[in-house]
Amino acid sequence: MINIDIGATTVAILTLFGIYALMAISLNLEYGVAGVPNFGQALFVSIGAYVAGITYTRLLPLLAGEQVIHPCRQTMGQALQLRSEIMATQPVAGFINLGFTFLIAAVLAGLVGFAVSYVTLRLKEEWFLALVLLVGGEIVRIVVRGADDLICSHNGISGVAQPFYFLDDPRASAVLFMLLALVLAAVAYFYSQRLVHSPFGRMLKGLRENEEVTRGLGKGISLARARIMLIGSMIAAVGGVLFALNTGFVNTNDYVVTLTLDIWVMVVLGGVGNNRGALLGALLIAIMDRITQIAAIVLNMSGSPIEFNYARFILFGVILLLMLRYRPGGLLPESPLTTDAHEILRRVRGR
């Protein structure tokens, strides 16, 4: 039998929860609140990860006052060693680099999201957007992988170290990274709660329910859709940066349609249109991810002939189907929006 370190497992689950929460909140704002079918969530997440792969290999050495070594091919090992040394000895350069990574990733993803929302105006049927986004993510993945020097094609970039790598105690470093992920997720959560309960949020829900009526009420719906795609994509890209840092590795193979589906499972499981539901979905999926991993290892070591890693995907598919069929609102369904005026009216009427 293997020993399971409860402390480390909890930290890993909570870190993953923070990262997933960012992705789920982003999709919930886009699909749950505004009704934009983002089947290209992996695209926006991957922008964050690719930017991390580029800044950690190109910008970090400059910030630390070193020469940039080409990260791929013959100089791969050398570049990796340089990265690790800088991350271990110059925390300030690491933090500045991380700041830039977040900034560039968010801006870039935001721009892509903003641009994509205008694509909808040209589409004949609404669901074509789902296909365009899905396919767009795959195109970006193939182009990034095909461009040999960007993030080293099939090899990817390893040694994308967490910002607290310089600490001697790896446990402390992991805990601090967990806190970073949780704090960012909390910021995103409170921000999106405010957004949903603002007039803009109510208008987005109106847009989701009926585009013509919302337009008829004099709302500029294409700009609203562009704004929510911008905000959602920025949050997803921040999640993508953390995702890359968490695995320490940037590889195009991680950002496929399966990742998009995972994020959809979180939102559908938690509750479409409800930010709290997105958090719950992210937490449950983070726990399930870890448990199935551990179960797979335990089963493999005990000589089971069945590969349990595959079961994870079957389980996710079954969860998705069961939720869609029996609880389409999710575990925490969206509650009706009430404004202050609505509250007062309710009290005056005595109901």
């Binding site: 694509v119 040209r122 669901w127 296909l131 767009g136 399966t258 590969e307 598919g317 869609l324």
Partner: protein, 306 residues
């Protein structure tokens, strides 16, 4: 670009294009008759390929038996996913995104069940076993009996399906469903039964496509999934409603992936790694610029118009 390479790539185009046509017609049919962009279609192909593989490994089997097994298992997978998943959802009048999402979920489940089976029986990287013979040889061009199976079988099936749709009562009922399901029900067409037949047909043909696909490359649990977006590109070129447009679209996609890609590689040094991006590019361009695809080329009133 050398002529020998050109000829080989055109042969590939015919072979792969015919398979794409077989699969893409299923997508078009499900979309028109059932109103579902079915991403699980990929897995009916893979399921059929595995059924064919398992039958072929049991000894010297006539290819026709292999194809039949693939048809039956593919049809079964499609019918079960309809009865267990899509039909109950349709009854609840859910949004199209819920249906798309559940088709992804069905695909995911089938795909990883196949992974488990392949892992358990050690079936990775195996081909469907039929005796290989060279039937034609001219310079660098070698045609084997695999080609003699794949291209004609799929072309015959495509013709059969088109005839069925245009000239039989069932085909007429399917077209009625595609055109206006409410009206079809009012005039007494057994809607549920026609839907079931549609699923059997779609899944069966996908299964046969998988078996044929497994003759030319190794069978893998990912084979359908890898091809699905190329197949969607073909169906979208057909405007998701026109049979003739879909068939033409399938050959256009296969031609772009094989001949055009090789041409770009030879003359402009475009890396072959970008090949998978071609169908995606086609999808985006068609959806943005010409969402009706090739439909207007074949506007004879016989297609699955909505």
């Amino acid at each position: 670009m050398p002529t020998a390479l050109l000829v080989t790539s055109v042969v590939n185009t015919i072979q792969i294009g015919s398979l794409y046509a077989l699969m893409a017609l299923g997508i078009t049919l499900t979309f028109s008759v059932i109103r579902l962009p079915n991403f699980a279609h990929a897995e009916y192909v893979t399921v059929g390929a595995f059924a064919a593989l398992i039958v072929s490994l049991s000894g010297e089997v006539n290819p026709l038996v292999i194809m039949t097994a693939a048809f039956v298992v593919g049809a079964l997978a499609a019918l079960v996913s309809h009865l267990a998943v899509f039909k109950p959802l349709e009854g609840r009048n859910v949004s199209l995104y819920t249906l798309i999402l559940s088709s992804f979920a069905v695909g995911l489940i089938l795909r990883y069940i196949l992974f488990m089976i392949a892992d358990y029986f050690d079936l990775f990287d195996t081909r469907i076993r039929i005796p290989l013979q060279i039937i034609y040889r001219e310079g660098a061009l070698i045609l084997t009996n695999v080609f003699a199976w794949v291209a004609p079988t799929s072309i015959v099936l495509v013709i059969l399906l088109t005839t069925l749709l245009n000239g039989t009562p069932l085909g007429r009922e399917m077209r009625a469903l595609a055109n206006n399901i409410g009206l079809a029900r009012v005039i007494g067409i057994p809607v549920e039964r026609v839907k079931n037949y549609t699923w059997v047909l779609v899944g069966g043909l996908a299964g046969v496509a998988g078996a044929l696909w497994g003759l030319q490359t190794a069978v893998s649990p990912l084979m359908g999934w890898v091809a699905i977006l190329s197949v969607f590109a073909a169906a979208i070129l057909g405007g998701l409603s026109s049979f003739s447009g879909t068939i033409l679209g399938a050959y256009v996609v296969a031609f772009s992936e094989n001949t055009v890609m090789l041409f770009l590689n030879f003359n402009f040094g475009v890396d072959l790694a970008y090949k998978p991006a071609i169908p995606f590019f086609i999808i985006i361009v068609v959806l943005l610029i010409r969402p009706q695809g090739f439909t207007e080329l074949f506007n004879r009133g016989r297609d699955l118009q909505r």
